[in-house]
């Protein structure tokens, strides 16, 4: 029997990416996702996770990011909750693609890719926490 939902916590450390991938891939394979969809969803989770841990905290304490993955009605859902400073990725401006190579910057590219690969992205600030819900059609 396969579960339609899993939840886990990640510490605000880059090494947690490995655990994130393992969780994501085993869950996605149980639900027979295409490898290209696993890749895209994985990328979106990594981009948000690294934004949280790079910009979300001003102290040196350990913080936990709650991640929930679910499959429902042909949609893959990712929910991420953190207690960092307010950060709404749906409001980030896309990078300028028309400038010269020398002026090309990487900032904002992760969020831009996420918007491209996901079908929906919704942000909420509640009880001093950032909550991001993203969905992608998988069938």
């Amino acid at each position: 029997m396969t579960d339609n939902k899993i939840s886990f916590k990640l510490e605000n450390k880059l090494f947690e990416l490995k655990r994130l991938y393992r969780q994501m891939e085993s869950f996605a394979k149980q639900h027979r996702l295409f490898p290209k969809d696993i890749f895209k969803i994985n990328l979106c989770i990594e981009e948000h996770f690294t934004n949280i841990i790079s910009h979300g905290y001003t102290d040196c304490e350990t913080h936990w990011i709650d991640v929930t993955l679910a499959v429902e009605n042909g949609n893959f859902m990712v929910r991420m909750e953190d207690d960092g400073i307010p950060f709404n990725p749906t409001k980030i401006v896309a990078p300028d693609f028309h400038c010269s190579l020398e002026e090309r910057k990487i900032g904002g590219l992760g969020v831009f890719l996420t918007r491209h690969f996901m079908d929906t992205m919704a942000y909420q600030r509640r009880d001093n926490k950032n909550i991001l819900v993203m969905t992608k059609k998988i069938k």
Partner: protein, 110 residues
Amino acid sequence: MQIKEEKQNEVHIFKLVGRLDSNTSPIFEEKVAAAIAKGAIRMVIDLENLEYLSSAGLRVILKTTKELKRLEGKLVLCSMAEYVREVFEISGFDTFLPITAGRDDALKKF
């Protein structure tokens, strides 16, 4: 991630195996910097066995492109999977980076 390096006709070739993510990109960045410090200005990155990349990997590739251009060298990417290519295209990187189907075609770009 595994990074294999070889030289062919004055072209420095990196073959990336595994995942180029926020964790592994700094390692690759160091290897590229070391190669440039030793005088490599013509580079190929072979992505045949790259399973995954995120914007952290794109950042290193952008930085390398700029650096090699400044040194009047060149970077060519080859052999990437279709879904990896899609990331390069969406990001607009295919407008300034030559991307070839195979390694032989990449070497012909120099």
